[in-house]
């Protein structure tokens, strides 16, 4: 256990990267996914098609490939994310970090979209009709009436998507972000004799984080339960 404790600072730092990736990609994928879902059920045929193609393409592509695209192919077409360079104490968010975050957002949004779409389908048609009848335009119908209810219906699958995202951040470790997985690999290389405890410690922290997420989702589900 000493190895873990001796390196607690580095491990904490690694998990700050992990969590920041999770929060950034989590929030933005919820927003972008909601826009995609709105496009998929909206009145504009071109947007409906475009969103459907997006989901089909991205959902069927392995995450690693999506992130590699932004990390390596992106710069070739001008997507360098060079403008991203944020330092907060020991934390440095650079272009690699941005490429990985964008990959996570792009990938996760397609799952958020589909979870929300199932939620939208669970909202009775009369809700949208009543919203239209008081004069709300499409955007108002979606944001005021449909999405808040769809979110509630979609909460369990959305929680699964976000939990998957938390674990998916480890893929970024393979591509240069010093998050938890990269740090763990570093430690197991440096302290080969303590491999098991290092593995266990990292696994345990992930389990705890996922449990916290599940708990939050559970509480939201209870609080938002449509009376």
């Amino acid at each position: 256990m000493n190895v873990v404790l001796d390196n607690a600072g580095d491990i904490a730092l690694a998990f700050i990267y992990t969590l920041s990736l999770f929060v950034v990609a989590g929030v933005l994928s919820l927003i972008f996914g909601a826009l995609l879902a709105a496009a998929r059920v909206g009145p504009v045929a071109v947007l409906r098609k475009a969103a459907a193609v997006y989901v089909m393409l991205i959902r069927n592509t392995p995450l690693l490939i999506v992130i590699i695209f932004f990390r390596f192919a992106g710069p070739k077409i001008g997507l360098t994310f060079g403008f991203v360079d944020i330092r907060v104490a020991d934390i440095r968010l650079n272009n690699l970090y941005a490429a990985c975050a964008v990959g996570l957002i792009v990938y996760t949004s397609s799952f958020v979209c589909e979870a929300l779409r199932s939620g939208i389908n669970a909202v009775p048609l009369g809700q949208a009709e009543a919203a239209r009848a008081i004069g709300l335009p499409f955007g108002g119908v979606m944001s005021q009436v449909i999405m808040p209810q769809a979110m509630r219906h979609a909460l369990p699958p959305l929680a699964s998507v976000q939990i998957a995202l938390l674990k998916n951040t480890t893929v970024c470790g393979a591509l240069g972000v010093f998050e938890a997985f990269a740090r763990m690999r570093g430690l197991t290389n440096d302290f080969a004799s303590a491999r098991t405890e290092i593995f266990l410690a990292f696994a345990l922290i992930f389990v705890v984080l996922v449990e916290v997420l599940s708990f939050v989702a559970y509480r939201l589900e209870r609080r938002w339960r449509i009376a």
Partner: protein, 258 residues
């Protein structure tokens, strides 16, 4: 049920407000609306009656463009219904609609149900919208339940809230599509009372209902629909005591039995 309306909603009584001219609609092969010509004047209460599937709901929904029509024209206050977008949304705000299944926003409180339109569509301040909602909810007898959620109210209460929600937009005309058909018998009266009140205050109303009591007390005219067409149009008294068409006689015979 108190509080007189702050403005005279019956101003200009008697002028045409909702005019349908040669309205036709098909659902595939089904000719749901067949050459409908109807004029509803300001301040008038028109009851639409007819067997299930005769096109009554479709007629209501066409008037606030929840359904498109294939031929003919519908005008509201002299203006044709716009096709899409902002203008259409504005028009819908002028036409209040009350549904058979209430359709209150399930995730919003009673107060929020009533204030959503005024705040988001009419851009009213929250304070003003709340005050207006309080007044309207008092008027329909739900004032003390404003913080509850729709599912915590009975069907009759929910329908009265739905009426208040529509009134909050200060519509020119109110459409009611079988507002009491989903209610238990003991709750029907409380909703009809609110509607009769509204009629007495001069609101222009188009009401799909089989409640003959309401038609007799509040309606100026009855339209009888069958198979997508308006078959008969008369005063309530004449229609119920002396129906002209075979379809109407047959229909009244059936609903009078129970």
């Amino acid at each position: 049920m108190s509080a007189a309306p702050e403005e005279d909603i019956s101003a200009g009584r008697g002028e045409p407000l909702v005019v349908l001219e040669g309205v036709n609609k098909w659902f595939g092969d089904l000719h749901v609306l067949q050459d409908i010509n109807v004029t509803v004047n300001r301040g008038e209460v028109v009851v639409v009656i007819g067997p299930s599937g005769s096109g009554k709901s479709t007629l209501c929904r066409a008037i606030n463009r929840l359904e498109t029509i294939d031929r003919g024209a519908i005008t509201l206050d002299g203006k044709p219904l716009p096709q899409e977008g902002k203008e259409l949304a504005n028009l819908r705000a002028e036409v209040g609609m009350v549904f058979q299944s209430f359709n209150l926003f399930a995730h919003k409180t009673i107060r929020e149900n009533v204030t959503l339109g005024p705040i988001k569509v009419r851009k009213m301040s929250k304070a003003k919208a709340d005050a207006k909602a309080a007044e309207l909810l008092d008027r329909v007898g739900i004032g003390h339940q404003a913080d509850k959620y729709p599912a915590q109210l009975s069907g009759g209460q929910q329908q009265r809230v739905a009426i208040a929600r529509a009134l909050a937009m200060e519509p020119k005309v109110m459409l009611f599509d079988e507002p009491t058909s989903a209610l238990d018998p003991e709750m029907i009266k409380e909703v009809l009372d609110v509607m009769v009140d509204l009629a007495e205050q001069g609101m222009t109303m188009i009401v799909v209902t089989h409640e003959m009591g309401f038609a007799r007390t509040a309606a100026d005219r009855v339209l009888f629909m069958a198979d997508g067409a308006v078959v008969e149009e008369n005063t309530p008294e004449e229609f119920f005591t002396n129906p002209q068409s075979e379809r109407a006689k047959d229909f009244l015979g059936k609903i009078l039995k129970h």
